[in-house]
Symmetry: C2
Subunit: 337 residues, 2 copies
């Protein structure tokens, strides 16, 4: 057993040891100071604003405790990257706060750090610092991410204009169906899904694909944007409310994956879940009609599918129309409350 | 009961309602966008770096669930302000992530927001954004704070120099005694503390007084600094380790409050607790001998007491000396692990 003085000299606390072993190797940016300081420093490029966002996940609320730790790490980071994407920002780094139950296995932390490291590289978004604690509660992860935009260039929610086209990236509702499949393996049979289709939907829930490739095009062309994380219906309603406007959406124009179409053919009522479920991590945006062609071309160049789904109107509220009728929802927006 | 469409049009989710009522009134900075966007924007002054830090508290770990919510809010913010102070940074704003148990009373949230509002004003550190969730676990608060320094000006841990004077602000150990008093009301009698002395120590635990007034002076004169949050012994050991140097501290020179001296006279063994307990939120710093006078004068002008306690040496480890003997500690650094 080391003497007390040895402990002061060479010993690290449990927290320091975890950080040294698993997180310091990820913090290679010089301004992270190897996680060995009270704070990180960030030098924004001249003439740029920083975009700041924070989002977190809690075991049992946002993910299942037995989900693979690599994926939990990647999803937590990607949720924040999706916010940066929707604001037209280039990722500049992030801080990680993690509260670990006292019985957390070190192998869990190793796998979590491995997943995080993959996405740090993939998105060029360095780990700059963080905070580690033990908790008597569920494992909780909170990430604060930073991006840069030219001064005044952040794409806002509140700036949609009357008559703008409404568009969304990718496909909607896959993750909302994927989480049902993830929690109930019998559903795939009931929905007559192929194994590939089931995997597609589940993967869309487990590992979002944030649209960071679209950030520059959004800044150049979109009038307003936000990421779709709490369901298209509720999130578009937030954007319209912030802009003091209304919207009409053509339900048949909402882009769906082939797998989601199979599910709908088995149970048509799930259109509700598709339009109001969470975890899409796509972008809903508004764009003046005159700029839509340029935006779609830029999105195509960036490899991001973009579909026109509706129009910004005067008034309040969002109406989802199908065959001339307004669709009503059981619960318009996903909320963990 | 409203129709589904009314809900989409006018309804807010539980999370949105809480944010609108209690947190939006605090987010008056224009770049917070009234908490109504995915992200905040921050425009650093030209030629400045941003200093980024994150720290959080969990009920039952860092505070008692029955502690006043105002104080919990203020302490959580001040813990982060203390990190900015130690880095020589001027506060520029913060993001708040809060995970609320489902049975949280709205009155608790109102009081929490009230406390937060007081310190937002007092420290001119605006609320820029955040994230609210419900949790099956204990109430948890994570704050990420931002400060500004002239480019390259962040005061680091790793830059102490051989022969530098070591100094600390304020008094050490009050909060470590205060938390004992807070948890066991009989102790005040056993230690023969006056009611005023008991209140002083407890208040030092409940409401840190971060040394933001010293930030400019630190940047001008200190060679290295960090805030003392996990106990003087452990935190100075971290600073020395980061700098690749050792230190000797004169225990009798460590500044103590009158209340702490009364406690020590009742139980001399508590010097261990005083030097290794957490929650001081003072600053330990190193400064070249030639600059110490200027730093002390600047600290005096800022109303911050500063005491010389030791010297940076070559080698490894921190030795606390009393009457020529090395003091040994039961647990050199406070850790929640």
């Amino acid at each position: 057993m080391p003497s007390n003085q040895d402990e002061i000299r060479n010993g690290l606390s449990g927290e320091e040891r975890l950080i040294e072993r698993y997180f310091r190797p990820l913090a290679t940016a010089p301004n992270a100071f190897g996680l060995g300081d009270d704070a990180a420093a960030l030098t924004p490029p001249a003439g740029c604003d920083l975009v700041l966002t924070t989002d977190g996940v809690i075991a049992g609320v946002h993910f299942l405790p037995e989900d693979p730790p690599q994926g939990i790490a990647r999803k937590a980071l990607r949720m924040n990257l999706s916010d940066l994407a929707a604001k037209g920002a280039t990722p500049a780094g992030f801080l990680l706060s993690i509260a670990l139950p006292t019985n957390t296995q070190e192998s869990w932390i190793a796998a979590f750090a491995e997943g995080l490291g993959q996405d740090i590289g993939h998105y060029d978004c360095p780990l700059l610092g963080g905070d580690t604690d033990h908790t008597p509660g569920p494992l909780s992860i909170s990430i604060t991410a930073f991006g840069t935009v030219p001064h005044g260039g952040m794409v806002r929610r509140a700036t949609a204009k009357l008559g703008d086209i409404i568009a969304v990236t990718g496909t909607i509702g896959d993750a909302a169906l994927g989480v049902l499949l993830h929690r109930d393996t019998d559903l795939a049979k009931r929905w007559r899904l192929s194994s590939a289709a089931k995997d597609h939907l589940e993967e869309r829930y487990l590992l979002p694909q944030p649209r960071n490739a679209l950030a520059d095009a959004l800044r150049a062309h979109a009038s307003a944007a936000m990421d779709v994380s709490d369901g298209l219906a509720g999130d578009l309603a937030k954007l319209c409310r912030a802009s003091g406007l209304a919207a009409e959406v053509d339900v048949d124009a909402v882009p769906l994956s082939d797998a989601a179409r199979v599910v709908l053919s088995a149970d048509a009522k799930l259109i509700d879940r598709i339009l109001t479920g969470g975890d899409d991590y796509e972008i809903v945006l508004t764009v003046p009609a005159a700029k839509f062609g340029a935006l779609r071309a830029a999105a195509g160049n960036a490899g991001v599918p973009l579909a026109e789904i509706g129009q910004v109107m005067s008034g309040q509220g969002v109406r989802f129309l199908r065959e001339g009728k307004v669709l009503s929802f059981a619960r318009p927006s996903y909320s963990h409350f």
